[in-house]
Assembly symmetry: C2
Homo-oligomer: 296 residues x 2
């Protein structure tokens, strides 16, 4: 599989720059999107535009899916005929963020058809997708991971973290740390301000020490500027926290008290007018708990 | 005050390297410690060893205190005659980590005697103290902060974050972020392992993105190695979380739900055999909540 033919299903904010990087790296690529117009822009870069997902997948060595959630991935793979159109030995790389158990289910159902599967969600956002610097968290067979290296290399850098589903689990671990650290910074800066210190100077004083994080840098600044225009919404962060608790086995599963609490705080933020704000807007929820209404 | 005479009260793990850096920077320094033997080692570096705290303070332009907690600072300042021994206009720089309201109280009582006060707790530990790279969070008057710059410069770098007590508040904000981020990393790595991923590879995959932090780097590694030899104990972290909640005004004060939960988890860790472990040992408490006993 040194020069595989790729089908990329899902040409959205992430899929489009990823497709361009794959084309630039020399891969033959068929593109499909539910809203065809978005895929058609890629024709100028050399992509073949497919009318259906199954048509894109026919003859492909590798199918990359970059879709909204597990239900959509399942529908495209099994409802829209992609699985049936694939040759035995083809590899599905699902780069969507879905539940680990959904990824394991897809892997098992594809395996029954002789098709390989790897879950490989990403971190880095649209900027990372455009720059080809996505952090890719992969779950699946070691030999499939090795075979997929040329593909991953065009998109960013990948680490195989375990078997099927483990990539999705790593993404959830990432999102748990992101959401909880946002909560930590929110409470610390709110307390500093409530107690009469200058929160901007407090952040300045502590950023170089053990409290230092990417979140304190980036999201801490958003809090200080009250700039909650969404890069990633509170709603999506809530979905991630829900998926983490689902992966932990729900109410009778592995107990994650901090994740559970921060999930509830995101739910409350969303219910109280903050659904569309950036996930750093958990700062507003801490304020709301202390009598400050969330701005419209 | 371009070349002030300094009295350093409290020659422990932090005070000793700080004293050496001040002596090396050319300050005349009197040293006092409750256990005199610890102070006496500094004689070889040019310090005058004082028999009592008041004797060290007599004639000093600046008194630095580096003591265990607010009660000890209060006793040394007001019970052991330091406040009375100081000339009007002298400056007390309390670099101990104590409660903000204790710092404000000390400042007010010293002001009544014509003595200035600045709270200036530090982050960076014994390594930072030895290297002269402490992060110093200062609260007090702007002109006193300016006057203290040569002293701070010999010890690390200082940011004035607000009025009296604000330095202690910044330190607590720092400790809140540290404690909660440890909790975030603990839950994420425990879930990754429970779910069948390799937690070391998960950390590797996510450390460069938004989940990246000093805690994921340093404390995350301690968790993976199960190396909970204390650099900072769970007991001290619990004290810091308690002090943060105290600064927030207690049960009827500013609400900090995540800080409150993580405080309770540290309390539970300490009660269940983890009092002496490193604060990264919150990882063990997450395990304990899921049926894994804390190792003896």
């Amino acid at each position: 599989m040194s020069n595989p033919t790729i089908a990329l299903l899902g040409i959205g904010l992430m899929g489009e720059p990823m497709a361009r990087n794959l084309l630039e790296a020399g891969f033959a690529l068929a593109a499909w999107n539910r809203t065809r117009a978005k895929a058609e822009r890629l024709a100028a870069y050399g992509a073949r535009i497919a009318a259906t997902a199954a048509e894109a997948a026919a003859g492909a060595d590798v199918v990359i899916t970059m879709l909204e959630n597990g239900a959509v991935v399942e529908d495209v793979l099994f409802g829209q005929g992609v699985a049936g159109a694939l040759r035995r030995g083809a590899l599905v790389i699902d780069m969507s963020s879905i539940k680990p158990r959904e990824a394991r289910d897809h892997a098992a159902r594809l395996a029954a058809l002789g098709v390989r599967h790897m879950d490989a969600p990403v971190s880095g956002g649209t900027l990372g997708a455009a720059a080809g610097t996505l952090a890719i968290m992969a779950g699946g067979e070691a030999q499939d991971f090795a075979a997929a290296q040329p593909v991953f290399g065009a998109l960013g850098s990948a680490v195989r973290v375990g078997p099927h589903g483990a990539g999705q689990l790593a993404k959830l671990a990432n999102q748990m740390i992101v959401g909880i650290t946002i909560g930590a910074v929110a409470e610390a800066l709110q307390l500093a301000e409530a107690g009469g210190a200058d929160p901007a100077l407090v952040r300045e004083a502590i950023r170089g020490g053990f409290a230092g994080s990417k979140i304190l840098e980036v999201h801490g600044e958003r809090m200080l500027k009250r700039d909650f225009a969404a890069r990633a919404t509170a709603t999506v962060q809530l979905k991630d926290m829900d998926n983490a608790l689902d992966a932990a086995g729900g109410a009778n599963g592995y107990r994650l008290p901090i994740t559970t609490l921060v999930r509830d705080m995101y739910a409350s933020l969303c219910e109280n007018g903050g659904a569309g704000v950036d996930h750093s807007g958990l700062f507003l929820e801490v304020g709301r708990l202390n009598g400050k209404a969330i701005p419209k």
